[in-house]
């Protein structure tokens, strides 16, 4: 028999995910690894991750990786890219990291048009610290710091990250994808590949926001969590490509 689905080569040998059961980080990292394999860039990568569940990327991927303080992945990546413009540089963050504490760094990296690719996992909460209100927490969503649900008067609105990044002139690609169904997972991989490809083509900043579930902090089964992504998140955070610059400059 022939193996038709196997662990990507860019995963570390004998890695064991330390995420909670049903967490979509595992799928997102696998997709990143598959794209790295397909583009054949593993040996050229220096990646940067900052604090949050996302920081443990270096335990799972067989690539060079530097840790940054919370929110500073994009700043650190900018430093790496400026020091070694010939290397492939990407970041892997959560929404709290990318769009709250690190929003200035994220936006300015996009505005400068750094040739960096960036993956942001949006699960509408701070996962690592136990499910607090984050920048993407949905209206009405109950978290440990919005016990009666997010209402606008008290907490303001969630941020639509991919749309904001698309507005930056230095952005070459910005898309939002989800991991709740097989077709969405396939689309997510294509989006990651494009976000990586714009860096290889020297077009600018490549960005993918991935809607993910956090069953533990949402207090749901993994299947119900995926249902929530579909029924509650996607209507607020529509999937799609918000900006795409092609090689001929369009």
């Amino acid at each position: 028999m022939q193996q038709v689905f196997s662990i990507p080569k860019s995963m570390k040998k004998d890695f064991k995910y330390t995420f909670c059961p049903g967490c979509d980080h595992g799928i997102a990292i696998r997709l990143v690894a598959e794209v790295i394999d397909e583009l054949g860039i593993r040996e050229d990568i220096i990646s940067s991750t900052s604090v949050g569940c996302s920081v443990f990327l270096y335990d799972f991927l067989d690539i060079d990786c530097v840790e940054a303080p919370h929110g500073r992945a994009l700043a650190s990546a900018t430093g790496v890219k400026r020091a070694r413009p010939d290397k492939f540089v990407f970041t892997y963050s959560g929404d709290g990291d990318f769009a709250s504490i690190g929003l200035a760094e994220s936006m300015h990296t996009a505005l400068r048009g750094e040739c960096i690719s960036s993956i942001c996992i949006n699960n509408t909460t701070y996962g690592m610290t136990g499910g607090q209100l984050g920048p993407t927490t949905l209206l009405g969503q109950k978290t440990t710091t919005s016990p009666t649900g997010r209402n606008v008067d008290y907490y303001g609105y969630p941020i639509k990250i991919a749309e904001h990044i698309a507005l930056c002139d230095g952005t070459a690609y910005s898309a939002r994808v989800a991991l709740d169904t097989i077709p969405h997972i396939n689309q997510a991989k294509q989006a990651i590949k494009k976000a990586f490809q714009v860096q290889l083509d020297g077009l600018g900043f490549g960005f993918v926001e991935i809607l993910s579930s956090c069953p533990t902090n949402w207090h749901m089964t993994p299947e119900d969590a995926h249902k929530r992504v579909r029924e509650e998140m996607i209507p607020v955070f529509p999937l799609g490509v918000f900006k795409e610059v092609s090689k001929d400059g369009n």
């Binding site: 028999m1 022939q2 038709v4 689905f5 995910y17 995420f19 967490c23 595992g26 696998r30």
Partner: protein, 68 residues
């Protein structure tokens, strides 16, 4: 005809695969893992698996290998 192999050391018993398999070939087993959760098992007596790999693609822990 296809076949899957589940890596029990990676599986965290989230049961996404049990709900994903179109043929219902993956089920909770009576064995428990170190957290006391029932582990999953692949049972394909009639040779129904077509190696669609949907279970593997949705497995968050990369615990499933698929053969054809």
């Amino acid at each position: 005809m296809g076949k899957i192999v589940i890596d029990d050391s990676r599986c965290k018993s989230c049961y996404i695969c049990t709900m994903t398999c179109p043929k219902g070939l993956i089920k909770k087993s009576s064995k428990t893992n170190r957290l006391g959760d029932y582990m999953v098992e692949f049972n394909d007596e009639k040779g129904e698996c077509i190696a669609c790999a949907m279970c593997a693609k949705r497995c968050p822990d990369l615990a499933i290998e698929v053969y054809k």
